[in-house]
Symmetry: C3
Subunit: 132 residues, 3 copies
Amino acid sequence: MIQEIMIQTKRRDEMLDITVQVEEILLRENVQNGLVVVYSAHTTAGITINENADPDVQKDILRRLDEIYPRDDAKDRHLEGNSAAHLKTSTVGASQMIIVRDGKLLLGRWQGIYFCEFDGPRRRTCYVKILK
Amino acid sequence: MIQEIMIQTKRRDEMLDITVQVEEILLRENVQNGLVVVYSAHTTAGITINENADPDVQKDILRRLDEIYPRDDAKDRHLEGNSAAHLKTSTVGASQMIIVRDGKLLLGRWQGIYFCEFDGPRRRTCYVKILK
Amino acid sequence: MIQEIMIQTKRRDEMLDITVQVEEILLRENVQNGLVVVYSAHTTAGITINENADPDVQKDILRRLDEIYPRDDAKDRHLEGNSAAHLKTSTVGASQMIIVRDGKLLLGRWQGIYFCEFDGPRRRTCYVKILK
């Protein structure tokens, strides 16, 4: 009962709405009630739940996170140069859980599930685990 | 087995201790062991677990989050003007989970469950899902 | 099915890799498939999932969090003087969940589970709950 969502990101920082992919897994597995865990298998990309209506919210989130955790920081020691991406990932979190009721994700009216790329573009994997 | 907690917030930013409401649901459902998921159905309000003793901790948390994510930011594009609230929500998270042991929430001595309002006052909904 | 991991931290801010301890619990309990919840019972210490290869990532994370949430802040009201630690804890989160597949933690290649001390040194407790 573990499914994978494969994602090809296109920018360094990007929020990709994966709500439909998670819903498709629910349908395929015929889950009526339970809990879904959406998990990013990466340390420079996380999962968050946020607004699905105005795409400007995503732009503001990514820009402000980048101001708080700037890519370049002379004090960083990590040679790969992506410590900011690691910090952003720990801030939003590696995973989110969503309740399932009557076969549907129990999301609020404006909530979508987002894969948050912080060090792209890359090929990424999300695991989806359903607890019935 | 999904319960709702209805909340009327009174300020723009506010941390409301909902531990007792979650405990009441445990009692009502007669849950002895398992996991409780507390989920905010909103994109400008989240859930966190933090200190339940000195209310000044909540004041410091809200004030500092507001300094990091100021309400007004000339670069924000989102016309509703509440991008800071969306960022605060993704920072604390939309949900928290708490282990249940022998009919009780397995919280640490100083831990309480907080509903975090970041764009109030509003009428809000929390979902509580119990996994036995 | 609730296990405890006891931790003695040595510094004020510290990220301790507890992946092996969680794996040992899986083996001892003979869990093949399910979900593991790793939970910090504290309000000034959390759990995060991040890079397990270069220890400089942890140094950068701790240093940058300390710049964003400085220990001393003249506006803080909390007399204990550790509001920054409470903020760091709510930022990384009190708990993380990891999927279990075929008896193993389904972590990404570079992911480790970290206990994050933000107000040490102290004796700390983590709860590990397995959902089969």
